[in-house]
Point group: C2
Chain length 91, copies 2
């Protein structure tokens, strides 16, 4: 658990993010945190599930946090958006 | 924690599910589990966040689990879909 890296999940295809996580873990990073907001939240869950079921079977989900973030628009108004953080760690 | 109830999150507006959770909790249910699959996962996170931030401020997220479920189509083929379970409890 000495190193950790963050992968931000956006609107690209799921496998792009899976590859990013797998590359980091195979490069020696022991913990990767997936962060996503809004509609990308379901994609973050897909990434975590695909990584641990298909690629790195000794990886486990060690923690999941949900929260609300406030986004300021250019006009100065604000909107709330949900966010998720999924921690994946390799033993 | 004696009673618990499950709310399945689908494609209806978020506030429908928020109302369902708030109604159960105000009716004496101490723990509600939100379940969602696929794209509805982000909506489940929205529901949990809105309930605890705006309606029942003493409710906390006690557990979050993610998993993969296999869906059989009518033609007999199967697809994997991610799923989430969020436990909300009132103290």
């Amino acid at each position: 658990m000495s190193e950790e890296n963050i992968v931000y999940i956006g609107n690209k295809p799921v496998m792009n993010y899976v590859l990013a996580v797998v590359t980091q873990m195979n490069g020696g990073v022991s913990e990767v945190i997936l962060k996503a907001r809004g509609r990308a939240i379901s994609r973050a869950v897909d990434v975590a599930e695909i990584v641990r079921n298909r690629f790195i079977t000794d990886a486990t989900v060690t923690n999941i946090d949900i929260s609300t973030e406030e986004i300021m628009s250019n006009e100065g108004s604000s909107t709330n958006v949900s966010a998720i953080e999924i921690s994946l760690a390799k033993e």
